[in-house]
Amino acid sequence: MEKPFAITLTPGSSRANHTGAWRTERPVYVHNLPPCNDACPAGENIQQWLYHAEEGDQDALLARGDGPPQPPAGEAAWRQIMADNPFPAIMGRVCYRPCETACNRGQLDEAVGINSVERFLGDEAINRGWKLPGALARTGKRVLVVGAGPSGLSAAYHLTRLGHSVTVKDAGAEPGGMMRYGIPKYRLPRDILDAEITRVLDMGVTLELNATVTDLLAELTEGGGTFDAAFVAVGAHIGKRAYIPAGDSARIMDAVSLLHRVEDGPAPMLGRRVAVYGGGNTALDAARTARRLGAAEAVVVYRRTRDRMPAHDIEVEEALEEGVTMRWLSTVAHADDGKLVIEKMRLDETGFPQPTGEFEELTADCLVLALGQDADLAVLDGVPGVTFSGGTVDVGADLMTGHQGIFAGGDMVPAERTVTVAIGHGKKAARSIDAWLRGASREQAPRPGLAGYNGLNTWYYADAPGTIRPKLAAARRTGTFDEVTGGLDESTALFEARRCMSCGNCFGCDNCYGACPDNAVIKTGPGGPGDYEIDYDYCKGCGICAAECPCGAIAMVPEEP
């Protein structure tokens, strides 16, 4: 068409006008650290595996004929977990969920049920028999792991994946350590435990049971042994003893041995009334176990108040549901046959319990002491360079003890004593050992900034309250050791996964692409995480993309003059 001069113009000719010159700030895509990942002691990339989980396996929503059939996204999610943690099914049951405490969604409606999704994926992996990817090339290095608890097995798993040959030696008759001897069945069914341990062993880890290591140095090459390095994680299995005046016939035992014997011996006779002395998770486990062993009454005697109790709330709740009673601000002054003398306490201004001189009686056929555990440090006794403090081994940031090549983790080093922490130690130790064996010092990748709630634009997320996991009726709990907390089915797990807001990381919502007034966001792919580029020829730096990014994955940075 012959166009009249100036009055009529060629379409799209304004592309010659590069408005990028107007810009004083430029948007850049960033990856910030989601609070869940930040909080996970096992260092899981939770946001990532939830992202995979969102798509579901045979996702009806995706089976609309567009695109090729999806690979089982649940498996991808599971593999993502396995990169950091070999025990999703166990985690999904026994972890105390610091991730959910940190979850930003908690500030919107309710935290994402990360733990329940993890359990679902872990169980799926067991049921569907998902296999792990093959290990890296063998390094020819041999590593000894002392202790087949969560920490040791985690280390063995990671070391094997890194190509090292691992032998695990454990004094016990069964692998699993505290996971088996400290956590009752009703919280962690043994078939689950066995399945996940077996999966690790199947990778080619050598396990020696009933094998107590007496001379660690002798095992190492330096001592003429065959191992190039060792990771010691024997846990803390020795129940603390406190002096309690008691009559001869008083029946007193410690919680650790109680739980241990419930697992592998004839269950001890506790009587109708059981008193548990202590305020930690173990105390509650002991009390709940007592109920299951037939005790009509299980009383927890604790010196302080509930809010000062070290035990986790879930445990307390479940214990109360099961009829366990509590005696706050109380100490056991004297134990006798069939009864205890309790002294009432009061908290001073520092919150420390002080005796009041008031006494009362409490009928109890048996007293179980749950006053904490000590680690058996014998294996490291006399090893040159290894030092101890406060009943634990001193280690560096890389978990190496004072002795080159000997690393330690789990309950025997200073840290919170949970399975998750232990598993995290295992991974950390494995990486440190790998680095040490290669003569390198492991450099920590710089931690990205935390993806806080204020960085999100939550309007874009559909309103979705959390899912409640099914629970075994309290009445049916006390009789059996059946698992108390149920799991999610595929749809509810999918639902939970999709409640993730993908904090700090692009999830491919196209908002930046859609909301740019200058069409300065280019779509480089079908619309997934990172399928976008800013076209700085035209971007005026208005910042709408950053403001409207639901998950805070775009930052505005000043233009350099």
């Binding site: 799209g12 590069h18 979705a464 807001m501 919502c509 692409y513 909301a515 709408i544 505005m556």
Partner: protein
């Protein structure tokens, strides 16, 4: 593509795209092959809501008409920033004539297409609030009254921005403009003035009238698409914040529009043949102050001291919208219709 709130939960239900949705339920704007009717290089301000709204609406219409579209533009910001010689940002057949005649020019285009047997080509007329509710009102009403086959889109930024932010018939009460300065006992625009063109359009009983904002892309696209299901005169009124005129941050353009809706100051609804058939419920009602505080044009309501009296009147009008359009329940067309037609008690009357 019927507009629906996403019935299943996943991240970003309300975002432009979402990989979890089947392609046909994703927005036009999320498509890599969208028309980009208004393309790069235009001279709109940073964070221009009108540039955004125009591309949102016309891209949706382009998809609905399979590209058979002619657009007619009134004089104003949109026209000036999109077609300064020698460059145009339009990638569609586009005509600009005058400030006050866009609806009539669009009528002429539609009539010509009919006469030439090109009914497959559809016509959109568009302009800002000044060109629509003020100087273009006669032509707009005439187009409505004749029920000409034109979709007219008003990009409402509530003042004459092109000429330097003077008051228009769409400027809200208390807002500061160059001609309603924040002076005297009743600073800003006077209460009890201004006209509600969507309701005026409904009074013509034309096939389709709807309001939308740049804050809810899916809703906007649905309405632009729905409008093309009808023949005859249709009217789409889109709220497009103007960082310059409203004194808001360019980055907040969409946020401000969202607050206008969530505070109920801008009711989002659609009407067919003069009857309201749906009102988009507010997700989380916000006090009007959340909306006002983001905009320098309302600064005088908060400094030197807070004008609680004025704010109360503004809140009252928001509350009236809530009851009038039933914005707080999931939409009940019947109730909304009754309220709108004055059969239900409405607050703030």
């Amino acid at each position: 593509m019927p507009y629906q709130r996403i019935k299943f939960y996943q991240t970003g239900s309300f975002a432009a795209g979402n990989r979890l949705l089947p392609a046909d339920l994703r927005s036009v704007q999320s498509s890599a092959t969208r028309a980009n009717t208004l393309t790069c290089g235009h001279r709109a301000c940073q964070g221009c809501g009108e540039a955004l709204g125009a591309r949102y609406a016309l891209d949706a219409v382009m998809r609905a008409t399979k590209g058979k579209l002619i657009a007619v533009n009134a004089t104003g910001c949109l026209e000036v920033f999109s077609t300064p010689f020698p460059e145009t940002s339009w990638q569609i057949a586009w005509l600009h004539s005058l400030f006050g005649n866009a609806p009539a020019v669009a009528t002429g285009v539609a009539a010509a297409l009919k006469a030439m047997g090109r009914g497959d080509i559809r016509v959109v007329g568009q302009g800002g609030d000044g060109g629509t509710v003020d100087i273009g009102m006669a032509c707009l009403s005439g187009m409505f009254e004749r029920n000409d086959d034109v979709l007219y889109i008003c990009y409402d930024n509530q003042a004459y921005m092109n000429t330097g932010v003077q008051r228009s018939g769409a400027t809200p009460p208390a807002a500061r403009t160059a001609t309603t300065p924040a002076e005297g006992p009743e600073p800003g625009n006077t209460f009890g003035q201004g006209k509600n063109v969507p309701l005026i359009a409904m009074a013509h009983e034309i096939p389709y009238v709807a309001t939308a904002t740049v804050a809810d892309l899916r809703d906007l696209e649905y309405k632009a698409t729905r409008a093309m299901d009808f023949h005859g005169a249709r009217y789409l009124h889109i709220l497009v914040p103007c960082p310059l005129g409203w004194g808001s941050s360019p980055a907040d353009t969409i946020k401000v529009a969202r607050l206008a809706v969530e505070s109920a100051l801008f009711p989002v609804f659609e009407a067919e043949a003069g009857e309201v058939v749906s009102a988009t419920p507010i997700r989380r009602q916000m006090p009007v102050t959340d909306y006002l505080r983001l905009q320098a044009r309302y600064a005088h309501l908060f400094r030197p001291e807070e004008r609680t009296d004025v704010i109360a009147r503004i809140q009252a009008s928001a509350d009236r919208n809530v009851s009038r359009f039933g914005l707080l329940q999931d939409h009940h067309p019947e109730r909304t219709r009754l309220a709108l037609n004055g059969h239900l008690p409405a607050e703030g009357r």
